[in-house]
Each structure stands twice: as C-alpha cells, then as structure tokens.
Amino acid sequence: MSEGETGQLPLEISPPAAPILETQGLSRYFGGLKAVDGVDFKLSSGDFHSIIGPNGAGKTTFLNLLSGVLKPTQGKVIFKGQDITHLPAHRIAHLGIGRSYQITNVFPNLTVLENVRLAAQALGRDNFKLLTHYQRFDVYIQRAWRVLERVGLAGVGHSLVSSLPHGDKRRLELAMLLAQDNEILLLDEPTAGLATEQVPEFMSLVKEVAASAQNRKTVVLVEHNMSVVMSLSDRISVMHQGRLLAEGTPAEIAANQTVQEAYLGSLYSDLDI
C-alpha cells in the first residue's frame, strides 16, 4: 500500500486461514442505546489487532461481549469455528481467551503472588483437592514467580496489591494474563493511567510477551494511544457509535479519508507513518 491511497475501504485481503475469533452481526442494546451494533469482526491467529475509536464507541462493551461478561442482544461470537455466544463467563478462560481490564480488576486484599498464583491455578485440575495444603502444589507457585519475574514484579511478590502504585497494578493485570498462557489476549487500555514515560516500556513488554511464545499469541488491543497502535499493530479496526467503521493495516487506516475525517484529525496529523 503506497502513500496517497485514499477514499474507500481497501479491499480486504482474505487471511490465509479461517479467523481464530470472529463475530457475526454482534449487537448489544441497553434499552434504546445501541452500544454495539451489528459488528462483523474477524481476528486472524497470530495477529496484533488493535481496536480504536472515540470514547463511547463501544470498544469496552465489545470486549465484554467477546469475553463473555455480557451476553449479546443479537449476533454470534465464534471461536475456532465454534459458537461460543452463550457460553457462561467462567468457561471462556478455559478456551484460551484471556482478558485484562481498563479499570484495574484484581484481588486487592491478596498478595501479588497470590493474585498470579490464582490465575495459574484456575486452569489446572487441582481446584477441588479440599484436604491438601495449597502450597504443596508447587507448579502454580513456580509459574507465578516466573511470570512475576518476567513483568518485573518479583520484588513485590509478597506485598498486598492495595499497597502497590498504579503502574505495578497494570503490570499485575498483564501478569495474570500471562500466568494462564492464553492463546488470545484481550487487552483493554492496558496503559490507562500510566505516565507517558512508562508507556513505551510497558508496550514493549506486551509485544515481547505476544511474540515470545511457541505459537505467536493473538492480541486484541483497545487503546487510545495512537503511536502505540500504529507502531505495533498488524491490523486496526475502527469503531464509532457501536459500529465498525473501518478495518485494515495501519497504513490503510491512516490513509482512510472517512476515518481521518471522523476524528483522527489533529490527533494523527503530526504523526509520521
């Protein structure tokens, strides 16, 4: 795609394989409010796929629908060819779909280690061993420590989460995802609340995590930070008022007139592709 291509949505090149996650006509209404409206979204395995859009575009609601927190009013969510629309929320993690939250959603009165250990334990088979001390299950504890080392939180492993600074809590969100070794990572504004200088380091951690696994992880990132989105994404979807406005590579999106007019505008004009 060369510079200067404008206008209509570019022809979508079909991904080589079937999408790992897709939605068909996914909608969620709250009374008269159409938070998500007829979204057809396709996620290719191994992609780093960002979703952008102004506040209220429905991005978080969309992630909630993908992760099973909300059930759609209409439409389907399909994972590896199977309809998971009506799966109860707690089954989603077992499929390999992990989620981090825009507003930190961890266990505030437990230690950092325990938070991650619980994430590791969840997908194991030892949850109903009622009469064995939990510390005997070393595998979860060791995995938790390794993950904490990876994100740089090993030093505060024994601290209570409520005593952590905001940046560490965001890392903890990421750590809990890592501990579950999910195939698909749904990240909802992971850098929310971080100071500007902390963002690049954090995002390189995210990218490193996504790339380092045996099979590349698939990432869906909801973000406001345009430089992050443009530099890291393989594909970008743009949402506006609950609908999917455009989808394509960063270059395509940057060049897309409709998107630019809608609101990228001044936000984007001083960034180079």
Binding site: F30, G31, G32, L33
Partner: protein, 336 residues
C-alpha cells in the same frame, strides 16, 4: 447506564410486575368471595388494608433509606416501637382534664418529631462512619435495635402498656355488609394512604425528591453536582425513622405498646420491601398492600379451616420466596 436507558429497561418489567400485582390482588378478592360471606370479606379486606398500612409505615423508611444510603436499617422496627412509647409518655404528661384530642395530637407530633430527631442522631453518629463497610452497618443497626428494645424493656417492663384512648369520634365501630369493623383501624388506613400520597408527591414533585431519586440512581453524581449529599442522607434517614415512629403512635390506641412490637413488624417490613424491590418506593407501596391482603386472607382461611393462624405468617414467607425466585430483585427492583 444513563437515566434514559434505565427508565426504558424498567418499564417492561415494571408493567409485567404491575400486572402481576393487580392480578394477584384480584385473585385474593375472588378467593375471599368464594369462601366467605360478604361481611367476612369486607372485614378481611379492611383488615388486610389495615395490616398493609402498618407494614407500609414501618417499611417506607426502610426502602428509601436502602435505596439512597444502601443501609439496611434493622433498627427500623424499634423506631416504630419508640414512637409508640414516646407518644404514650407525652399523652400521659398532660394535666387532668385536657381534652383527649389535644393529648392525641400532641402525642402524634411528639412521636414523629422524636423519631426523626433520634434517627438523625443515629445516622450522623453511628451510621455515617460505616458507609464503606455495609456488612458492619447491618450488624450495627441490628445491635442498635436490640439496645433500644432492651432499654425500653428495662425502663417500662416487658408487659407493655394499656392502649391509650383515641378521640371519641374515632373510638367506635361501624357496620359493613353484616359485620362490624373498628373506625379507628380505618383511621389508620387513611393515615397510611395520606402518607403514601405525601411521600410519592415529595419524591416526584419537589426538588428534594428529585435529588433523592437521582441519588438513588447515582449518589456520586449528585455529589459531583455540588449537593451536600451527607445532609440529604441524614434527612432521609430521619424521615424514615419519623414515618416509622408516626406509625407506632398511630397504631398505639389499637395495638397498645410493648417492647417487642418493633421486632414483630420488622420481619414483615423486610419482606414487604424485598418483595417490592429494595430501591423502589412504588414497590414498597404496592407490596405492602399485597402482603397485607395476603396475610389477612390467609389468616381468615387458617382460622376457619385449621383453627390456628399458622397460615398467616407462612403465607407471606412463601410469597416472598416465590417472588424472589421469579424476580431475584423483587417485583419492582432495579438490577444494578
């Protein structure tokens, strides 16, 4: 969720719950006519309305306080009881020869004011420090209720006081469809109805009412608008206690006054509020009538066919369970 969407959401379940309530009341009336003669039916209906009004008086404060403050005031019943006792004390403090109606009015005013003041004091001193810990709030109000009850029991003794005399005009019975019913109990129904209307008007038409309703939806937002939400909380709490106290003194000429009267009504009040939906005042209004009529009907059936009143209490327990299973937030409650 915006106010608009919440309202839209409410209207569908609202309508079906309204329909259900109307249908149920109609069913109760039909059952009555089928089983009893017209005189008995009228006694049951009036008795049901009377009980419903008493439940309402105790639970009105409950539901608004819960809706706005998220506090389950388990001491509510004891305010009902305290109202009766304060009224009694005032009633008896006048010199010989004071006309009954004067004593009566004074007792009512004193009880209502006393209840309100005590409620305001309770909220600011004891409840306010605990807003972050709702479980402890419940425990605290429970303990407070016990303290009030036991203090009264210690001071006045467990036996209770002989009912005071209401004004002569109300102290009669009147005939209805072949049976007789006490005028005073109708007076209680009227007082309850007036209060229902008054509070509904307050909530719908006055500025304070709008603030309260907005606060029930989103108290942080109201605070952000610069309104002193703390004072509103205290006011609402005091209002709830005042209404309960008013109920206590109004019922006193018929019920008398005894330390455990609050506890007896507390369970029924809780059922009424839960049945109606905890943050819905309209729900409390409708539910209190529903529960009152159900109880009166069940009592009559129970006495007639089983010779014991056991079905009376069972009926309202069962209806609460059934409703909660179908509507986990109560008939008109809001799903947060």
């Amino acid at each position: 969720m915006s106010l608009q969407t919440a309202t839209v959401l409410r209207s569908n379940t609202f309508r079906s719950s309204l329909l259900f309530s109307a249908a149920f009341i109609a069913l109760l009336v039909l059952v009555n006519f089928a089983l009893f003669n017209p005189g008995q039916v009228s006694v049951v209906v009036l008795s049901g309305l009377y009980q419903g009004m008493l439940f309402f008086l105790v639970s009105a404060g409950f539901s608004i306080v819960f809706g706005l403050l998220d506090v389950l005031n388990l001491a509510q019943g004891s305010f009902f009881m305290l109202g009766a006792y304060i009224g009694f004390a005032v009633y008896g403090s006048f010199p010989e020869g004071t006309p009954v109606w004067a004593r009566f009015m004074a007792a009512i005013m004193a009880a209502t004011l006393g209840g309100g003041l005590l409620g305001a004091l309770t909220e600011s001193a004891l409840i306010r420090p605990l807003y972050a810990r709702p479980v402890f709030q419940i425990v605290l109000t429970f303990g407070l209720g016990i303290v009030f009850t036991e203090l009264v029991r210690a001071i006045y003794g467990p036996a209770g006081l002989i009912p005071i005399q209401p004004p002569a005009a109300l102290d009669t019975t009147f005939p209805i469809l072949g049976a007789r019913f006490e005028t005073y109990r109708v007076f209680i129904i009227v007082v309850g109805a007036v209060l229902m209307a008054a509070i509904l008007l307050l909530l719908q038409r006055t500025r304070i009412g709008i603030i309260i309703r907005a606060g029930v939806q989103d108290s942080e937002m109201v605070q952000a608008l610069g309104i002193n939400i703390r004072r509103i909380f205290t006011l609402v709490f005091a209002l709830g206690c005042a209404v309960a106290a008013l109920g206590g003194i109004t019922a006193a000429p018929y019920l008398g006054a005894f330390p455990s009267m609050g506890d007896q009504f507390l369970l029924s009040a809780v059922i009424v509020v839960v049945l109606g939906g905890m943050s819905s005042f309209e729900g409390t209004v409708i539910a209190s009538i529903l529960v009152g009529l159900t109880r009166a009907t069940a009592e009559q059936i129970s006495l007639q066919y089983l010779q014991t009143p056991v079905l009376a209490s069972l009926s309202i327990l069962l209806i609460m369970i059934v409703v909660l299973l179908v509507r986990p937030s109560g008939l008109f409650g809001r799903e947060n």
